[in-house]
């Protein structure tokens, strides 16, 4: 480009000289023609006209005119060329400005055919953290997470090699390992013969834009969420944020809400209930807690977790969802299940009663095979009843209808009773239950029937998994603020991956010894719920091939000797 413009400039100068020469020659020729003309009139005497001189003068005039015309055309063309040259110069200046602007705004990199960097601009250095010297000679794949195996990198290499232009977003990685999102246009550059010379990549950092978009989306989502959202400080329960739904119910603006205590959000706020709700979060026992409560005539479900703000200030985030309709449906479902249970129990009463009477010999002695068949029918009727009870209990739990009939309970007597009640399982599985340590002062507040259901569940499981002839030991120990009932078996154990699953509804783990056992998979889910309703905990320790010990921790009931009397006064 430079040399062409130089040539144009040189040519313009030559043309100007030519014009000057042509004009001078034309003037001189004109002068000569005038002279010849004068001579033609004046050389002869007496009015003689010299046609010869006149002819020469005419020729010179014509030559002069031609030279003027030539000078005019040369002049005109020279002006046009000069204008074009000026226009090219202006254009170049424009492009230069635009290029500078682009380089200032964009991240620009130039690479060779194989993607090795040849040059990068300052923005590139700033964003990716590589100095110009550092990056030149490196392959563009260093910016892609996973390097040359990165799918995007492979796709782009394919496009560039085929001579196609890429425009779009991509995720790149900086020298420091930070992921950045850029919008890029990558253009392969070719020479006039179509040879790929190099590749120019121009990018804009849109990480912040995308994050802002995401933040905006989340803010809108949070504001317009149909659930109520409360963010308040752990330290003093002062509100930092409430979403639109929550503000609407409380009749506040966000400014009015800020600084108020969470307890002010509803007249039904129960501080003791709230403290019990958040306790597992404060002790680190749970990451998220969920409770159901009555709030201004509706049923609500409150889920709370602790979140640490960027300034290290811990806050509670509570989400309150209206579950009145869900509760209504649960009650309806419980009613249906309850009716079905009743309808099934009535014929089962006849079946079980008949079998019991047959077994007892009321209707005469049975032949051995007959007795065996009656036994099978009787056992399976019990199983069916067990399933019915589990399903009904489970529905009660779902509907929040499981109620506890609490009374003081001496655990030594209770465990002995549990062993007596569950002897049938020991006989069936050819093992035995044995009482371990049973402190006489171990007293808890509990629903005897429900806790017996828990013991039956744990003991029947232990019996099922216990090797023949082995003992399952049931003991009570002091755990400070709680009494612990332990049921220890020598079964195949529970694999670590089953730890959480065992307490899930309908969970049936693959047994460690490969032998499947019968059950609904509801027993431990129900057990856990019953223990929770006693403000207790259930957990287990297990070693594969050695056995499993289930623990139930129940809060101690405070026992005081009544003054002057033998009786015990017990308070939860």
């Amino acid at each position: 480009m430079e040399s062409i413009l130089e040539k144009v400039r040189n040519l313009t100068s030559i043309k100007s000289a030519a014009v000057l020469a042509a004009v001078l020659t034309a003037v001189m020729t004109l002068a000569l023609a005038v002279r010849y003309l004068i001579e033609a009139f004046t050389r002869g005497q007496g009015g003689q006209f010299f046609w010869e001189d006149a002819f020469e003068a005419a020729l010179l005039l014509a030559l002069s005119a031609a030279l003027f015309v030539l000078a005019y055309f040369i002049c005109k063309q020279t002006r046009r060329m000069e204008a074009e040259r000026q226009s090219i110069l202006d254009g170049r200046m424009q492009i230069s400005f635009q290029l500078d602007a682009m380089k200032m705004h964009s991240i620009v990199a130039e690479s060779d055919l194989d993607g090795y960097y040849r040059d990068v601009n300052e923005n590139f250095e700033k964003l990716f953290g590589y100095s110009r010297d550092e990056i030149i000679g490196q392959n563009a794949s260093v910016l892609y997470p996973g390097g040359r195996d990165n799918e995007k990198y492979k796709e782009l290499r394919g496009l560039i090699t085929r001579g196609e232009v890429f425009t779009g977003e991509q995720e790149l990685i900086t020298k420091g390992g930070r992921i950045v999102r850029v919008h890029s246009t990558i253009v392969p550059v070719f020479d006039p013969e179509g040879n790929h010379l190099r590749t120019i990549a121009m990018s804009t950092d849109i990480t912040a834009v995308r994050k802002a978009e995401a933040d905006h989306f989340l803010t809108v989502l949070l504001k317009e969420l149909p659930d109520e959202v409360f963010i308040y400080r752990v330290e003093d329960h002062r509100i930092i944020f409430m979403n639109d739904r929550a503000l609407e119910r409380c009749g506040w603006t966000l400014e009015e809400a800020r600084g108020k205590a969470i307890a002010e959000t509803t007249p039904d706020f129960d501080m003791a209930f709230f403290n019990a709700h958040i306790q597992p979060l404060l002790t680190g026992e749970e990451e998220t807690v969920t409770i159901q409560a009555r709030n201004q005539g509706s049923w609500v479900e409150i889920t709370t977790r602790i979140h640490v703000l960027p300034d290290n200030d811990p806050v509670f985030v509570s989400i309150l969802r209206d579950i009145t309709e869900r509760k209504r449906q649960e009650r309806h479902r419980l009613q249906v299940v309850s009716n079905v249970s009743h309808e099934l129990r009535t014929p089962l009463t006849s079946i079980k009663g008949s079998l019991r009477l047959l077994k007892s010999g009321v209707a005469g002695d049975l032949p051995p095979e007959g007795a065996q068949l009656v036994d099978i029918a009787d056992r399976n009727t019990d199983r069916m009843l067990g399933v019915l009870n589990d399903i009904l209990d489970f529905e009660k739990i779902v509907a929040g209808k499981m109620e506890m009939d609490m009374a003081p309970l001496r655990l030594d007597e209770f465990v002995k009773e549990a062993i007596a009640v569950n002897t049938g399982y020991a006989v069936e599985h050819r093992m035995s239950f044995r009482a371990g340590e049973l402190p006489e002062d171990a007293v808890v507040m509990g629903d005897r029937n429900r806790l017996m259901q828990v013991m039956t569940n744990l003991m029947s499981n232990a019996a099922k998994f216990s090797p023949e002839g082995e003992d399952v030991v049931i003991s009570v120990s002091d755990q400070g603020s709680a009494w612990r009932i332990s049921v220890a078996d020598k079964g195949p154990g529970i694999p670590p991956e089953g730890r959480e699953k065992v307490f899930e509804s309908f969970a049936q783990l693959e047994p460690a010894d490969g032998k499947p056992r019968k059950g609904t998979g509801l027993g431990l889910a129900i057990t856990r719920r019953i223990i929770k309703l006693h403000a207790g905990r259930i957990d287990f320790e297990s070693t594969l091939g050695e056995g499993t010990t289930f623990h139930i921790d129940l809060p101690k009931a405070t026992v005081e000797k009544a003054p002057g009397g033998e009786s015990l006064e017990i308070a939860a």
Binding site: T349, G353, R356, L392, A420, R448
Partner: protein, 142 residues
Amino acid sequence: MSSKIRVLHVDDDDDIRVITKLAFSLDDGFDLEQCGSGVEALEKARVAPPDLLLLDMVMPGMDGAETWERLKSECGLSGTPVIFMSARAEQEFARKLLERGATAVITKPFDPMTLCDQIREALKPATGRGPAQPDNLLKFTA
């Protein structure tokens, strides 16, 4: 005069009546009268007032609770102990009956071999909770 306890058993289910009859046949301390509906129960109670009412809870037409109310008001049986037999397993349901004055609630299925023992247990004056109660017997002891 017989010292047997006269029991009026009301249950709409024929099979359960048969099993209950067999269960009572194992114990000669009771004299059992049976019928399949509340209406029949009122007629029988008018003729021969029983010492104990054994009522099924869920029955078509007049249910156990209504039968009990009418037996009390129309047949002068307000002082007669009543034991409900119910296939409803909910404790809450049983508690409501106990609160209304029922002597006990026996949940179905019951064990015919120990039914009479359970009834005797329920009829004993309340002396606090014993060491072991049958699973399906809920007795009002408060």
